[in-house]
């Protein structure tokens, strides 16, 4: 499955792009995070959150949406 990852805030700087396409097969959020941390070791210290369908995911949830948001800590307000 083709998944579009969108990066936000300081992640855009750390990764050097604001989105990218990943080819994955039936993976969980935990597995996605592990893929990302291997690909971008600079993300390890950040507490990253993953959202799909405009909702923060649980770590054992399966990725089902083709659009995934990858967030650094929120800092609104």
């Amino acid at each position: 499955m083709k998944v579009k990852l969108r990066y936000y805030g300081k992640l855009v700087e750390r990764i050097g792009k604001s989105d990218e396409i990943l080819l994955v097969d039936d993976i969980t959020v935990r597995e996605l995070l592990s893929i990302l941390e291997k690909k971008y070791p600079q993300l390890k210290q950040l507490s990253i959150k993953i959202a799909q369908n405009n909702r923060i995911t649980n770590i054992d949830e399966t990725i089902t949406s083709s659009k995934i948001d990858v967030f650094p800590p929120f800092s609104g307000g």
Binding site: G9, A51, N54, P73, F74, S75, G76
Partner: protein, 146 residues
């Protein structure tokens, strides 16, 4: 009031006129006895000799609007309030300008005080908005909530 997902975002700083217009529009709701308004203002913080001159806000706007809608619905269920409005800036907000405006109204003050604090805490914790603090020397750092 509680049904549709509204757009909370305003481009740039939130003007005092926006706030007074919002207050004015509640004067016809004569069941209201108490309003509580929270305003966040961009501080000119000093960090290692540099001064914050603005915060540049970005967001996952669709999700942010959705989460704010959920926060509103939950708060209406929890407290006997009449109205709630949430506005947040997008883009550049200069030091001294307002970047968040949360407005809660009810018959009595107890409900507005409790509801407003909780809502502001939840917005800071759960809404995907990101602030980039711009210094006077063109460097920046990423805002962190606590």
């Amino acid at each position: 009031m509680k049904d549709t997902v509204k757009n909370i975002f305003i481009e740039g700083g939130i003007s005092p006129e926006k706030i007074s217009n919002s207050i004015l529009s509640h004067q016809s709701k004569t069941e209201i006895g108490a309003h509580d308004i929270f305003l966040g203002q961009v501080r000119a913080d000093k960090v290692q000799g540099k001064t914050v001159r603005a915060i540049d806000f970005t967001a996952q706007t669709e999700m942010a609007n959705e989460i704010c809608h959920q926060i509103k619905e939950a708060t209406f269920k929890k407290y006997p309030i009449t109205c709630m409005h949430i506005y947040h800036s997008l883009g550049k907000v200069l030091a001294g300008e307002i970047c968040i405006f949360v407005f809660v109204s009810a018959a009595h003050r107890e409900a507005v005080f409790k509801a407003l604090q909780e809502v502001v805490d939840e917005i800071k914790a759960n809404v995907p908005i990101f602030g980039k603090e711009l210094f006077d020397d063109s460097t920046h750092q990423w805002k962190e909530n606590n």
